[in-house]
Amino acid sequence: MALLSIENVRKEYQVRGKRVLALDSVDLTIAEGEFVSVVGPSGCGKSTLLNLIVGLMRSSMGRIVFRGAPIDGITTKIGYVTQKDNLLPWRTLIENVEIALEIRAIEKSVRRAQARDLIDQVGLSGFEDHYPHELSGGMRQRANIIRTLIYDPELILMDEPFGPLDAQTRIVLQDQLLKLWAASKKTIVFITHDLIEAITLADRVVLMSARPGRIKSIEQIAIPRPRDVFKIHEDAQFRSSYERLWQQLRPEVTLSESAKGELI
Protein backbone atom coordinates (compact mmCIF):
# COMPACT_ATOMS: atom_id res chain seq x y z
CA MET A 1 0.00 0.00 0.00
CA ALA A 2 1.16 3.50 -0.72
CA LEU A 3 2.50 5.45 2.22
CA LEU A 4 1.54 8.77 0.71
CA SER A 5 -0.74 9.60 -2.14
CA ILE A 6 -1.21 13.04 -3.58
CA GLU A 7 -4.50 13.15 -5.44
CA ASN A 8 -5.30 15.85 -7.96
CA VAL A 9 -3.85 18.60 -5.80
CA ARG A 10 -4.13 22.24 -6.75
CA LYS A 11 -2.88 25.22 -4.80
CA GLU A 12 -3.68 28.88 -5.41
CA TYR A 13 -2.24 31.81 -3.51
CA GLN A 14 -3.89 35.18 -3.15
CA VAL A 15 -1.28 37.85 -3.79
CA ARG A 16 -2.66 41.40 -3.43
CA GLY A 17 -6.08 40.35 -4.66
CA LYS A 18 -4.69 38.39 -7.59
CA ARG A 19 -4.78 34.63 -7.72
CA VAL A 20 -1.50 32.89 -8.38
CA LEU A 21 -1.74 29.28 -9.38
CA ALA A 22 1.25 27.52 -7.85
CA LEU A 23 0.36 23.86 -8.30
CA ASP A 24 -2.15 22.22 -10.58
CA SER A 25 -3.41 18.63 -10.93
CA VAL A 26 -0.56 17.01 -9.07
CA ASP A 27 -0.91 13.25 -8.72
CA LEU A 28 1.81 11.18 -7.12
CA THR A 29 2.00 8.03 -5.05
CA ILE A 30 4.95 7.25 -2.84
CA ALA A 31 5.66 3.77 -1.49
CA GLU A 32 7.05 2.98 1.93
CA GLY A 33 10.86 3.08 2.06
CA GLU A 34 11.12 4.87 -1.27
CA PHE A 35 13.51 7.72 -2.00
CA VAL A 36 11.82 10.15 -4.37
CA SER A 37 13.48 13.27 -5.78
CA VAL A 38 11.45 16.14 -7.13
CA VAL A 39 13.15 18.41 -9.66
CA GLY A 40 11.79 21.52 -11.25
CA PRO A 41 12.65 25.10 -12.11
CA SER A 42 12.72 27.62 -9.32
CA GLY A 43 9.26 28.95 -8.48
CA CYS A 44 7.40 25.92 -9.83
CA GLY A 45 5.82 25.11 -6.46
CA LYS A 46 8.20 22.53 -4.98
CA SER A 47 8.24 24.11 -1.50
CA THR A 48 4.49 24.61 -1.74
CA LEU A 49 4.05 20.90 -2.34
CA LEU A 50 6.04 20.05 0.81
CA ASN A 51 4.14 22.61 2.88
CA LEU A 52 0.92 20.91 1.77
CA ILE A 53 2.18 17.42 2.61
CA VAL A 54 3.38 18.45 6.06
CA GLY A 55 0.06 20.11 6.79
CA LEU A 56 1.26 23.70 7.18
CA MET A 57 -1.10 24.72 4.37
CA ARG A 58 -4.26 23.37 2.82
CA SER A 59 -4.69 22.59 -0.84
CA SER A 60 -7.28 24.51 -2.83
CA MET A 61 -8.45 21.30 -4.44
CA GLY A 62 -7.70 17.58 -4.19
CA ARG A 63 -6.29 15.82 -1.17
CA ILE A 64 -3.21 14.21 0.26
CA VAL A 65 -3.58 10.87 1.97
CA PHE A 66 -1.03 9.52 4.42
CA ARG A 67 -1.39 5.90 5.54
CA GLY A 68 -4.98 5.88 4.44
CA ALA A 69 -6.02 9.08 6.24
CA PRO A 70 -6.26 12.51 4.60
CA ILE A 71 -3.74 15.05 5.91
CA ASP A 72 -5.46 17.62 8.06
CA GLY A 73 -2.92 19.76 9.87
CA ILE A 74 0.50 18.95 11.23
CA THR A 75 1.44 15.41 12.16
CA THR A 76 4.64 14.31 13.88
CA LYS A 77 4.78 11.29 11.60
CA ILE A 78 6.09 13.54 8.85
CA GLY A 79 9.41 15.31 9.35
CA TYR A 80 10.49 18.42 7.45
CA VAL A 81 14.04 19.47 6.68
CA THR A 82 13.76 23.03 5.44
CA GLN A 83 15.82 24.83 2.84
CA LYS A 84 17.23 27.24 5.40
CA ASP A 85 18.92 25.30 8.18
CA ASN A 86 16.75 27.04 10.80
CA LEU A 87 18.79 25.85 13.77
CA LEU A 88 17.97 27.68 16.97
CA PRO A 89 20.89 30.11 17.29
CA TRP A 90 20.82 30.09 21.10
CA ARG A 91 21.27 26.34 21.29
CA THR A 92 24.49 24.43 20.80
CA LEU A 93 24.73 21.78 18.11
CA ILE A 94 23.82 18.93 20.45
CA GLU A 95 20.99 20.90 22.04
CA ASN A 96 19.60 21.53 18.56
CA VAL A 97 19.86 17.89 17.57
CA GLU A 98 18.11 16.62 20.68
CA ILE A 99 15.30 19.18 20.79
CA ALA A 100 12.61 16.89 19.41
CA LEU A 101 13.37 14.37 22.16
CA GLU A 102 13.39 17.14 24.75
CA ILE A 103 9.88 18.05 23.60
CA ARG A 104 8.89 14.44 24.24
CA ALA A 105 10.31 14.71 27.78
CA ILE A 106 12.88 12.00 27.16
CA GLU A 107 15.48 11.74 29.89
CA LYS A 108 18.55 13.83 29.29
CA SER A 109 21.12 11.04 29.35
CA VAL A 110 19.10 9.00 26.85
CA ARG A 111 18.56 11.83 24.40
CA ARG A 112 22.18 12.96 24.69
CA ALA A 113 23.37 9.47 23.84
CA GLN A 114 21.10 9.32 20.80
CA ALA A 115 22.15 12.78 19.65
CA ARG A 116 25.84 11.91 20.07
CA ASP A 117 25.39 8.79 18.01
CA LEU A 118 23.87 10.72 15.10
CA ILE A 119 26.40 13.53 15.40
CA ASP A 120 29.09 10.90 15.17
CA GLN A 121 27.52 9.30 12.09
CA VAL A 122 27.70 12.56 10.15
CA GLY A 123 31.22 13.34 11.32
CA LEU A 124 30.43 16.26 13.60
CA SER A 125 32.00 14.82 16.77
CA GLY A 126 33.90 17.47 18.65
CA PHE A 127 31.45 20.22 17.65
CA GLU A 128 28.66 19.26 20.07
CA ASP A 129 29.01 22.42 22.12
CA HIS A 130 29.42 24.85 19.24
CA TYR A 131 26.72 27.38 18.51
CA PRO A 132 25.29 27.43 14.96
CA HIS A 133 27.17 30.60 14.00
CA GLU A 134 30.40 28.79 14.81
CA LEU A 135 29.64 26.03 12.28
CA SER A 136 30.02 25.98 8.51
CA GLY A 137 26.98 25.83 6.22
CA GLY A 138 27.57 22.14 5.55
CA MET A 139 27.79 21.35 9.26
CA ARG A 140 24.59 23.25 9.98
CA GLN A 141 22.76 21.42 7.24
CA ARG A 142 23.91 18.06 8.63
CA ALA A 143 22.59 19.11 12.02
CA ASN A 144 19.33 20.15 10.38
CA ILE A 145 18.94 16.67 8.90
CA ILE A 146 19.83 14.64 11.97
CA ARG A 147 17.60 16.64 14.28
CA THR A 148 14.73 15.36 12.15
CA LEU A 149 16.03 11.79 11.99
CA ILE A 150 16.36 11.64 15.77
CA TYR A 151 12.63 11.41 16.44
CA ASP A 152 12.08 8.88 13.71
CA PRO A 153 9.26 10.28 11.57
CA GLU A 154 7.97 7.78 9.02
CA LEU A 155 8.24 10.16 6.11
CA ILE A 156 10.91 12.84 5.76
CA LEU A 157 10.53 15.80 3.43
CA MET A 158 13.68 17.66 2.43
CA ASP A 159 13.57 21.00 0.66
CA GLU A 160 16.80 21.62 -1.26
CA PRO A 161 18.82 20.90 1.86
CA PHE A 162 22.14 21.09 0.01
CA GLY A 163 21.17 24.05 -2.15
CA PRO A 164 23.49 26.67 -0.70
CA LEU A 165 26.52 24.37 -0.32
CA ASP A 166 29.61 24.15 -2.49
CA ALA A 167 29.97 21.21 -4.89
CA GLN A 168 32.40 19.16 -2.77
CA THR A 169 30.41 19.50 0.42
CA ARG A 170 27.25 18.55 -1.44
CA ILE A 171 28.74 15.29 -2.63
CA VAL A 172 29.96 14.38 0.85
CA LEU A 173 26.55 15.13 2.31
CA GLN A 174 24.78 13.18 -0.43
CA ASP A 175 26.94 10.22 0.48
CA GLN A 176 26.11 10.59 4.17
CA LEU A 177 22.44 10.99 3.45
CA LEU A 178 22.36 7.76 1.44
CA LYS A 179 24.08 5.94 4.29
CA LEU A 180 21.68 7.34 6.88
CA TRP A 181 18.78 6.39 4.65
CA ALA A 182 20.08 2.86 4.08
CA ALA A 183 20.44 2.42 7.84
CA SER A 184 17.01 3.78 8.73
CA LYS A 185 14.94 2.72 5.70
CA LYS A 186 12.83 5.86 5.90
CA THR A 187 10.72 7.21 3.12
CA ILE A 188 12.21 10.42 1.75
CA VAL A 189 10.88 13.09 -0.57
CA PHE A 190 13.86 15.15 -1.61
CA ILE A 191 13.52 18.42 -3.48
CA THR A 192 16.34 19.80 -5.53
CA HIS A 193 16.88 21.89 -8.60
CA ASP A 194 19.99 19.90 -9.42
CA LEU A 195 19.27 17.05 -11.81
CA ILE A 196 22.52 15.22 -11.02
CA GLU A 197 21.72 15.26 -7.33
CA ALA A 198 18.20 14.03 -7.99
CA ILE A 199 19.37 11.03 -10.01
CA THR A 200 22.24 10.22 -7.66
CA LEU A 201 19.97 9.88 -4.67
CA ALA A 202 16.61 8.67 -5.82
CA ASP A 203 14.67 5.56 -6.71
CA ARG A 204 12.41 7.78 -8.78
CA VAL A 205 12.85 11.29 -10.11
CA VAL A 206 9.71 13.38 -10.47
CA LEU A 207 10.04 16.24 -12.90
CA MET A 208 7.87 19.30 -12.56
CA SER A 209 6.97 21.89 -15.15
CA ALA A 210 7.39 25.62 -14.70
CA ARG A 211 4.60 27.43 -12.85
CA PRO A 212 1.88 26.35 -12.43
CA GLY A 213 3.72 23.24 -11.28
CA ARG A 214 2.49 20.01 -12.79
CA ILE A 215 4.17 16.66 -12.90
CA LYS A 216 5.73 16.45 -16.34
CA SER A 217 7.36 13.06 -16.15
CA ILE A 218 8.61 10.42 -13.75
CA GLU A 219 11.83 8.49 -14.29
CA GLN A 220 12.64 5.24 -12.53
CA ILE A 221 16.33 5.12 -11.48
CA ALA A 222 17.38 1.50 -11.27
CA ILE A 223 21.07 2.09 -10.50
CA PRO A 224 21.93 -0.56 -7.88
CA ARG A 225 22.61 0.40 -4.28
CA PRO A 226 24.77 1.09 -2.40
CA ARG A 227 25.73 3.82 -4.85
CA ASP A 228 29.08 5.48 -5.10
CA VAL A 229 28.15 9.15 -5.27
CA PHE A 230 31.66 10.07 -6.34
CA LYS A 231 31.57 7.89 -9.46
CA ILE A 232 27.89 7.49 -10.23
CA HIS A 233 27.93 9.94 -13.13
CA GLU A 234 30.13 7.47 -15.07
CA ASP A 235 27.36 4.89 -14.91
CA ALA A 236 25.61 4.22 -18.24
CA GLN A 237 22.15 4.17 -16.65
CA PHE A 238 22.90 7.46 -15.01
CA ARG A 239 23.82 8.99 -18.34
CA SER A 240 20.75 7.82 -20.17
CA SER A 241 18.44 8.94 -17.35
CA TYR A 242 20.17 12.27 -17.26
CA GLU A 243 19.76 12.73 -21.00
CA ARG A 244 16.08 11.86 -20.92
CA LEU A 245 15.33 14.09 -17.96
CA TRP A 246 17.32 16.99 -19.27
CA GLN A 247 15.42 16.91 -22.58
CA GLN A 248 12.26 17.31 -20.54
CA LEU A 249 13.58 19.88 -18.12
CA ARG A 250 15.32 22.18 -20.57
CA PRO A 251 12.23 23.82 -22.05
CA GLU A 252 10.97 24.54 -18.51
CA VAL A 253 14.03 26.41 -17.49
CA THR A 254 14.13 29.79 -19.17
CA LEU A 255 17.49 31.52 -19.12
CA SER A 256 16.58 34.04 -16.48
CA GLU A 257 15.08 31.43 -14.23
CA SER A 258 18.05 29.15 -14.43
CA ALA A 259 20.32 32.04 -13.51
CA LYS A 260 18.11 32.84 -10.52
CA GLY A 261 17.99 29.20 -9.48
CA GLU A 262 21.76 28.89 -9.52
CA LEU A 263 22.32 31.99 -7.46
CA ILE A 264 19.90 31.24 -4.68
Binding site: V54, Y80, T82, W90, R91, A100, I103
Partner: protein, 261 residues
Protein backbone atom coordinates in the same frame (compact mmCIF):
# COMPACT_ATOMS: atom_id res chain seq x y z
CA UNK B 1 41.92 44.07 16.98
CA UNK B 2 43.55 45.83 19.89
CA UNK B 3 44.46 43.74 22.96
CA UNK B 4 42.65 44.36 26.24
CA UNK B 5 45.55 45.74 28.32
CA UNK B 6 46.57 48.01 25.48
CA UNK B 7 43.00 49.23 25.13
CA UNK B 8 42.80 50.11 28.81
CA UNK B 9 46.21 51.79 28.64
CA UNK B 10 45.15 54.00 25.72
CA UNK B 11 41.90 54.83 27.45
CA UNK B 12 43.84 55.86 30.54
CA UNK B 13 46.20 57.98 28.47
CA UNK B 14 43.28 59.70 26.76
CA UNK B 15 41.67 60.49 30.12
CA UNK B 16 44.94 61.84 31.51
CA UNK B 17 45.45 64.03 28.45
CA UNK B 18 41.98 65.42 28.88
CA UNK B 19 42.55 66.14 32.56
CA UNK B 20 46.00 67.58 31.77
CA UNK B 21 44.55 69.94 29.20
CA UNK B 22 41.86 71.01 31.65
CA UNK B 23 44.40 71.53 34.44
CA UNK B 24 46.78 73.53 32.25
CA UNK B 25 44.17 75.76 30.66
CA UNK B 26 42.48 76.48 33.95
CA UNK B 27 44.06 79.66 35.32
CA UNK B 28 46.05 80.26 32.14
CA UNK B 29 43.36 80.42 29.46
CA UNK B 30 40.23 80.64 31.57
CA UNK B 31 39.52 81.83 35.08
CA UNK B 32 39.15 78.79 37.42
CA UNK B 33 36.03 80.49 38.77
CA UNK B 34 34.24 79.35 35.61
CA UNK B 35 35.80 75.99 34.95
CA UNK B 36 37.43 74.99 38.24
CA UNK B 37 40.30 72.52 37.68
CA UNK B 38 40.95 68.77 38.10
CA UNK B 39 43.04 69.34 41.21
CA UNK B 40 40.34 71.50 42.83
CA UNK B 41 37.67 68.93 41.93
CA UNK B 42 39.86 66.13 43.27
CA UNK B 43 40.35 67.92 46.56
CA UNK B 44 36.60 68.56 46.76
CA UNK B 45 35.73 64.92 46.01
CA UNK B 46 38.33 63.68 48.47
CA UNK B 47 36.74 65.88 51.08
CA UNK B 48 33.13 64.83 50.51
CA UNK B 49 34.03 61.15 50.38
CA UNK B 50 36.30 61.42 53.45
CA UNK B 51 33.69 63.17 55.60
CA UNK B 52 30.97 60.94 54.14
CA UNK B 53 28.69 63.82 53.19
CA UNK B 54 28.25 62.62 49.59
CA UNK B 55 27.06 59.11 50.41
CA UNK B 56 23.56 60.19 51.34
CA UNK B 57 23.17 61.97 47.99
CA UNK B 58 24.64 59.09 46.06
CA UNK B 59 22.43 56.58 47.86
CA UNK B 60 19.25 58.54 47.14
CA UNK B 61 20.04 58.93 43.46
CA UNK B 62 20.93 55.25 43.12
CA UNK B 63 17.79 54.28 45.01
CA UNK B 64 15.59 56.37 42.70
CA UNK B 65 17.37 55.14 39.59
CA UNK B 66 17.25 51.45 40.39
CA UNK B 67 13.81 51.30 41.94
CA UNK B 68 12.41 53.12 38.92
CA UNK B 69 14.52 51.03 36.58
CA UNK B 70 13.25 47.72 37.94
CA UNK B 71 9.62 48.73 38.16
CA UNK B 72 9.71 50.31 34.70
CA UNK B 73 11.51 47.32 33.21
CA UNK B 74 9.12 44.78 34.70
CA UNK B 75 6.09 46.63 33.39
CA UNK B 76 7.73 47.47 30.07
CA UNK B 77 8.74 43.87 29.43
CA UNK B 78 5.41 42.52 30.67
CA UNK B 79 3.25 44.85 28.60
CA UNK B 80 5.52 44.58 25.56
CA UNK B 81 5.28 40.82 25.75
CA UNK B 82 1.51 40.80 26.22
CA UNK B 83 0.83 43.26 23.39
CA UNK B 84 3.31 41.51 21.12
CA UNK B 85 1.05 38.48 21.30
CA UNK B 86 -2.24 40.35 20.94
CA UNK B 87 -2.30 42.04 17.59
CA UNK B 88 -5.74 43.66 17.86
CA UNK B 89 -5.18 45.14 21.29
CA UNK B 90 -1.81 46.48 20.14
CA UNK B 91 -3.48 48.16 17.15
CA UNK B 92 -6.10 49.78 19.38
CA UNK B 93 -3.52 51.10 21.83
CA UNK B 94 -0.93 52.15 19.27
CA UNK B 95 -1.75 55.91 18.99
CA UNK B 96 -1.95 56.24 22.78
CA UNK B 97 1.39 54.58 23.29
CA UNK B 98 2.95 56.84 20.67
CA UNK B 99 1.34 59.92 22.24
CA UNK B 100 2.42 59.12 25.79
CA UNK B 101 5.90 58.31 24.66
CA UNK B 102 6.02 61.59 22.75
CA UNK B 103 5.55 63.68 25.87
CA UNK B 104 8.91 65.11 26.93
CA UNK B 105 9.58 63.76 30.41
CA UNK B 106 10.90 67.12 31.52
CA UNK B 107 7.34 68.42 31.04
CA UNK B 108 6.01 65.69 33.28
CA UNK B 109 8.57 66.11 36.04
CA UNK B 110 6.94 69.14 37.72
CA UNK B 111 3.54 67.40 37.61
CA UNK B 112 4.96 64.30 39.24
CA UNK B 113 6.40 66.51 41.97
CA UNK B 114 3.00 68.11 42.55
CA UNK B 115 1.37 64.69 42.68
CA UNK B 116 3.95 62.69 44.59
CA UNK B 117 5.87 65.28 46.60
CA UNK B 118 9.48 66.40 46.55
CA UNK B 119 10.72 63.11 48.04
CA UNK B 120 12.22 60.21 46.09
CA UNK B 121 8.82 58.81 45.00
CA UNK B 122 8.27 61.48 42.35
CA UNK B 123 11.71 60.73 40.87
CA UNK B 124 11.11 57.00 40.93
CA UNK B 125 7.93 57.56 38.95
CA UNK B 126 9.73 59.80 36.49
CA UNK B 127 12.33 57.06 35.99
CA UNK B 128 9.56 54.49 35.52
CA UNK B 129 7.97 56.64 32.82
CA UNK B 130 11.24 56.65 30.90
CA UNK B 131 12.30 53.03 31.36
CA UNK B 132 8.83 51.64 30.74
CA UNK B 133 8.64 52.87 27.15
CA UNK B 134 12.16 51.94 26.17
CA UNK B 135 11.84 48.37 27.45
CA UNK B 136 8.28 48.17 26.16
CA UNK B 137 9.18 49.07 22.58
CA UNK B 138 12.13 46.73 22.49
CA UNK B 139 10.26 43.78 23.96
CA UNK B 140 7.31 44.39 21.66
CA UNK B 141 9.53 44.51 18.59
CA UNK B 142 11.26 41.35 19.78
CA UNK B 143 8.04 39.38 20.18
CA UNK B 144 6.79 40.58 16.78
CA UNK B 145 10.03 39.57 15.15
CA UNK B 146 10.15 35.97 16.33
CA UNK B 147 10.79 33.81 13.29
CA UNK B 148 7.56 32.03 12.37
CA UNK B 149 9.52 29.38 10.50
CA UNK B 150 11.35 28.35 13.68
CA UNK B 151 8.03 28.01 15.45
CA UNK B 152 6.67 25.88 12.63
CA UNK B 153 9.66 23.61 12.79
CA UNK B 154 8.97 22.94 16.45
CA UNK B 155 5.27 22.46 15.78
CA UNK B 156 6.12 19.86 13.15
CA UNK B 157 8.29 18.11 15.73
CA UNK B 158 5.26 17.94 17.99
CA UNK B 159 5.82 20.86 20.36
CA UNK B 160 2.92 22.35 22.29
CA UNK B 161 2.32 26.12 22.16
CA UNK B 162 3.72 26.32 25.68
CA UNK B 163 6.93 24.57 24.60
CA UNK B 164 7.20 26.95 21.66
CA UNK B 165 6.90 29.85 24.07
CA UNK B 166 9.63 28.47 26.32
CA UNK B 167 11.99 27.19 23.66
CA UNK B 168 11.58 29.80 20.90
CA UNK B 169 9.80 33.00 21.88
CA UNK B 170 11.50 33.62 25.22
CA UNK B 171 15.08 32.94 24.13
CA UNK B 172 14.49 34.87 20.90
CA UNK B 173 13.51 38.05 22.72
CA UNK B 174 16.35 38.02 25.24
CA UNK B 175 18.60 40.14 22.98
CA UNK B 176 15.81 42.68 22.56
CA UNK B 177 15.17 42.87 26.26
CA UNK B 178 18.83 43.32 27.13
CA UNK B 179 19.10 46.03 24.49
CA UNK B 180 16.08 47.77 26.01
CA UNK B 181 17.58 47.56 29.49
CA UNK B 182 20.93 48.74 28.27
CA UNK B 183 19.56 51.77 26.48
CA UNK B 184 17.33 52.74 29.38
CA UNK B 185 19.85 52.62 32.18
CA UNK B 186 21.62 55.91 31.37
CA UNK B 187 18.23 57.52 30.73
CA UNK B 188 17.07 56.27 34.11
CA UNK B 189 19.94 58.05 35.81
CA UNK B 190 19.28 61.21 33.81
CA UNK B 191 15.59 61.11 34.77
CA UNK B 192 16.37 60.76 38.46
CA UNK B 193 18.82 63.66 38.32
CA UNK B 194 16.46 65.87 36.32
CA UNK B 195 13.77 65.22 38.91
CA UNK B 196 16.16 66.23 41.66
CA UNK B 197 17.05 69.39 39.78
CA UNK B 198 13.45 70.49 39.76
CA UNK B 199 12.68 69.93 43.41
CA UNK B 200 14.45 67.79 45.98
CA UNK B 201 16.27 67.99 49.26
CA UNK B 202 18.76 65.22 48.55
CA UNK B 203 20.50 63.41 45.73
CA UNK B 204 23.33 64.07 43.28
CA UNK B 205 21.11 66.24 41.11
CA UNK B 206 20.19 68.30 44.12
CA UNK B 207 23.87 68.57 45.08
CA UNK B 208 24.94 69.71 41.63
CA UNK B 209 22.08 72.21 41.47
CA UNK B 210 22.87 73.48 44.95
CA UNK B 211 26.57 73.95 44.15
CA UNK B 212 25.74 75.72 40.92
CA UNK B 213 23.46 78.12 42.74
CA UNK B 214 26.39 78.97 45.01
CA UNK B 215 28.58 79.48 41.92
CA UNK B 216 30.75 76.59 43.09
CA UNK B 217 31.82 75.18 39.74
CA UNK B 218 34.13 72.84 41.64
CA UNK B 219 31.22 71.28 43.54
CA UNK B 220 29.03 71.12 40.45
CA UNK B 221 31.72 69.48 38.33
CA UNK B 222 32.57 67.14 41.20
CA UNK B 223 28.93 65.98 41.32
CA UNK B 224 28.85 65.58 37.56
CA UNK B 225 32.02 63.49 37.67
CA UNK B 226 30.53 61.16 40.28
CA UNK B 227 27.45 60.83 38.10
CA UNK B 228 29.55 60.02 35.07
CA UNK B 229 31.37 57.33 37.05
CA UNK B 230 28.07 55.78 38.08
CA UNK B 231 26.98 55.61 34.43
CA UNK B 232 30.25 54.03 33.32
CA UNK B 233 30.16 51.39 36.07
CA UNK B 234 26.51 50.50 35.44
CA UNK B 235 27.16 50.24 31.72
CA UNK B 236 30.08 47.90 32.28
CA UNK B 237 27.98 45.65 34.53
CA UNK B 238 25.20 45.48 31.94
CA UNK B 239 27.68 44.81 29.12
CA UNK B 240 29.10 41.86 30.98
CA UNK B 241 25.71 40.43 31.83
CA UNK B 242 24.72 40.85 28.19
CA UNK B 243 27.74 39.16 26.71
CA UNK B 244 27.15 36.22 29.05
CA UNK B 245 23.46 35.95 28.15
CA UNK B 246 24.13 36.39 24.45
CA UNK B 247 27.21 34.20 24.17
CA UNK B 248 25.42 32.32 21.38
CA UNK B 249 25.50 35.31 19.06
CA UNK B 250 28.26 36.17 16.63
CA UNK B 251 30.34 39.04 18.01
CA UNK B 252 29.30 41.66 15.46
CA UNK B 253 25.63 41.07 16.24
CA UNK B 254 26.13 41.45 19.96
CA UNK B 255 27.00 45.09 19.63
CA UNK B 256 23.99 47.18 20.31
CA UNK B 257 23.39 50.85 20.83
CA UNK B 258 25.72 52.54 23.24
CA UNK B 259 28.66 50.33 22.39
CA UNK B 260 31.28 51.74 20.09
CA UNK B 261 33.64 48.86 19.67
Amino acid sequence: MISRPRLYLYRLIFGLLLLGFWELSSGRLIDPFWVSSPSLVFVYLYGVFADGSIYGHLAITLYETFTGFFIGAIFGIGVGFALGRRETLAQILDPYVVAFNGIPRIALAPLFIIWFGIGPTSKVILVVSVVFFLTFFNTYAGVKGVDEELKNILRIMGATERQILMKITLPAIVPWITTGLKISLPYAIVAAVVGEFIAASKGLGYLINYNTSLFSTTGALGGILVLAMVVVICNEVINRAESYLLRWRPREERKSEGELY
